[in-house]
Symmetry: C2
Subunit: 335 residues, 2 copies
């Protein structure tokens, strides 16, 4: 029987993982298809290389736009891979009839974000497709960075041990709720802004301070819960987190309740999970909190020896809940 691609294949959940494994990973010889960046080496000189397409709908939302998102997203993928982001490329697929001034606004915010983050956009491409063959604008950014010495294994989570602490750099759910609010189809508008931000400086500070950072990942498609599940799979261990320790801002919480969304599964664009050794976590928390992008950072739980590789959450009302990998999606085109 013929099989077709569904929106769920793009959700960042189980089906996305299956698609990548079944269609691409084997054919392309990707050893670690679900990490954020490929790690390359040439005569002892190590680099990270990553790519992402951005198809967010709408293109402009409170706190950012597709251009800022594309720059931050690629910077963050490199950063959590232990690399110093240096160069970006940007490829634009534009729909015929797109307003030139909107393209200029988007390019402006890409340039501004790149400047703030200290990276350079060095190459690009522009294609135009007929009206109706794209939704305004899609941007694909690729990024290239120099790997920090000693962080070759950080994406693979090989150094994660039982008892390691899990920290997140701030509250979750803001990006998804901001984008939802901006979607015309939904009749509310929220005071919530996207958290889209480049995390390279924040992560740099953390890595400068601690030699015990064992894993990092930005909390994009699929959100915190998906990243925690992937971490269990990679380590063969379990995770225990405390619901009351996971920061969620009040307006985000309220809107999630109304709409039936779970903020733990919502995409963020300026948040990272950081796994540290037991001894270092308080110092790492302090470093995070000293930066504007990490001031609401929180220790949310720890790594447990659990062969079932489950993510268990102690709920606020005293129960336990298993956070599974969703096969489908909550929200299409959130990034």
């Amino acid at each position: 029987m013929d099989k077709f691609i569904t929106l769920n294949h793009g959700s960042g959940g189980k089906l996305t993982g299956e698609l990548i494994r079944d269609v691409f990973a084997g054919r392309f010889g990707l050893s670690d298809p679900l990490t954020d960046s490929a790690i390359l080496e040439k005569s002892g000189f190590k680099m990270a290389f990553t790519t992402d397409s951005y198809v967010v709908d709408p293109l402009f939302f409170p706190g950012g736009n597709i251009g800022k998102l594309a720059v931050c997203g690629t910077i963050n993928d490199l950063s959590v891979s232990g690399a110093l982001p240096v160069y970006l490329s940007a490829a634009f697929i534009i729909e015929e009839g797109f307003l030139l001034n909107d393209l200029i606004r988007i390019a402006d915010s890409m340039a501004e974000e790149a400047k703030t983050a200290g990276v350079r956009i060095v190459t690009g491409d522009t294609k135009v497709v007929e009206k109706g063959k794209c939704d305004g604008l899609y941007i694909t950014t690729s990024g290239f960075g120099y790997l920090r010495t000693g962080y070759e294994q950080i994406s693979s989570a090989q150094n994660v041990r039982e008892g390691d602490r899990l920290l997140i750099s701030g509250p979750v759910g803001n990006h998804s709720v901001a984008v939802m609010g901006a979607r015309k189809k939904l009749s509310f508008s929220t005071p919530v802004e996207s958290d889209v931000a480049s995390l390279n400086h924040l992560i740099g500070k953390v890595l400068d301070r601690s030699r015990e950072i064992h894993f990092m990942r930005d909390l994009t498609r699929g959100g915190l819960a998906t990243v925690l599940n992937e971490l269990c799979k990679m380590t063969g261990m379990g995770i225990e987190i405390n619901e009351s320790c996971v920061p969620v801002e009040e307006p985000v919480k309220g809107l999630c309740e109304i709409l039936g969304f779970d903020p733990l599964y919502l995409a963020n664009e300026g948040k990272a999970l950081i796994v540290t050794g037991e001894k270092d976590y308080e110092e790492v928390l302090e470093v995070l909190k000293s930066d504007i992008l990490g001031k609401q950072a929180s220790v949310i739980g720890k790594v447990k020896d659990d062969r079932k590789q489950m993510v268990v959450m102690n709920t606020s009302i005293g129960g336990k809940r298993i956070l599974d990998l969703h096969s489908g999606m909550q929200l299409p085109r959130i990034c």
Copy 2:
């Protein structure tokens, strides 16, 4: 007055150049926005980095498909920049409802082409958009290569001198005619196959043999005529070519006549312009002809001291014709 993006902005001609210069180059600080790759340096170690989105319609055409095109195109951009292509990324934007088996066929040919060319696809991304928000599939490939020593200036044409010879690696127009033929709207089908091919090995042989290669460029969007005009602009000199020396295969010629297209402006996906010093051109021609991808290579003309920076063609019937830069396009979505 509001200005809008038109299909002509994506044609690779004058308007594409203007869009890149006016919207992107200044904001992003691109020093050389129209070259194929950015040249990067880190403590004496030089690299080339490039990106391209592929939106070809239809996705499958005689001689190839969008996947093969995306791999070859990025390999060729690196190769003509004097780099050895090593790593590729591939980002997929897929329309909901896309046939999984078609995606597999495309991934298969990407893997096969990468293997033939000796490059590795090391990282990727998958996004899915709703039905009607994309035309089946768009692919963005980025590529990374090591720059050969001594070729830092090749993309900028700084070493081009009066009297330098212009060679092309084979007949022009095949890719565009093959894609046109495959488009359902047109009621002919042709025996013409796309020339889509990775040129890295061919160009490697040329660079191994000659130290007098002054410029290279693949003849994609805008075709030979557009590349020649860009070369004039970069060097401040003129170009003279002979129409009878530019190979065009008979079926391509015939279809161009019927449809009113000029093969000199049609996109190719496996052809390069190579500019050599006067002394070396015969040897370079021999090297090209010894390879299956260059067996119809030809010396088409030379660089002239002409401050008007014009491309003048001696026509087959004994006249002269100026090859201008087209502001618009012949064919949308050819790559």
